[in-house]
Symmetry: C2
Subunit: 95 residues, 2 copies
């Protein structure tokens, strides 16, 4: 069983009230280091069998057609999920 | 200016109605290949300067304290955003 991750973010020029709310809350909780926050979505799509280039191609089309709103959002990433992706990566992860 | 990406998914044992709705819609739109969908969140946190290990550490704490609900969600990734991350990666991306 394979999984594809699809990541979607609000376009830079679009106001992001959820991100703004988080950005406002962070310093109140002692996290003063962060100057801005944007909030988007992350989907995991499951397929039977391996994640082939055809699967990625179909996931990319689904991302444009159904998972995102192309007027206000960008699909920033469509990629296979590695087996160990469910563990927190504190450093060394590549995007 | 550096950015940290924080990715959060519903725990596997938690019902995910948003993901279920997407999974039901995909075959109706001609995407018959996908057998399951989970929907989570993706945050980008901005910092002035570089993303140091201390920044990642603080982002990981913020992810546990504010960005996620640890009862129903897992933080699956805390990592620096590479400069080219705003472009769609159709293949070769590692998670």
């Amino acid at each position: 069983m394979g999984r594809v991750v699809v990541e979607i973010m609000p376009k830079p020029e679009i106001l992001d009230p959820q991100g703004k709310a988080v950005a406002g809350a962070l310093p109140r909780l002692g996290f003063g280091r962060f100057t801005g926050v944007r909030q988007g979505k992350r989907f995991e799509l499951e397929v039977e069998g391996e994640v082939t280039p055809e699967v990625l191609e179909e996931a990319a089309r689904a991302a444009e057609v159904l998972l995102s709103n192309p007027v206000i959002e960008d699909v920033v990433r469509v990629a296979p999920v590695e087996a160990d992706a469910a563990t927190t990566t504190l450093a060394g992860g590549t995007t």
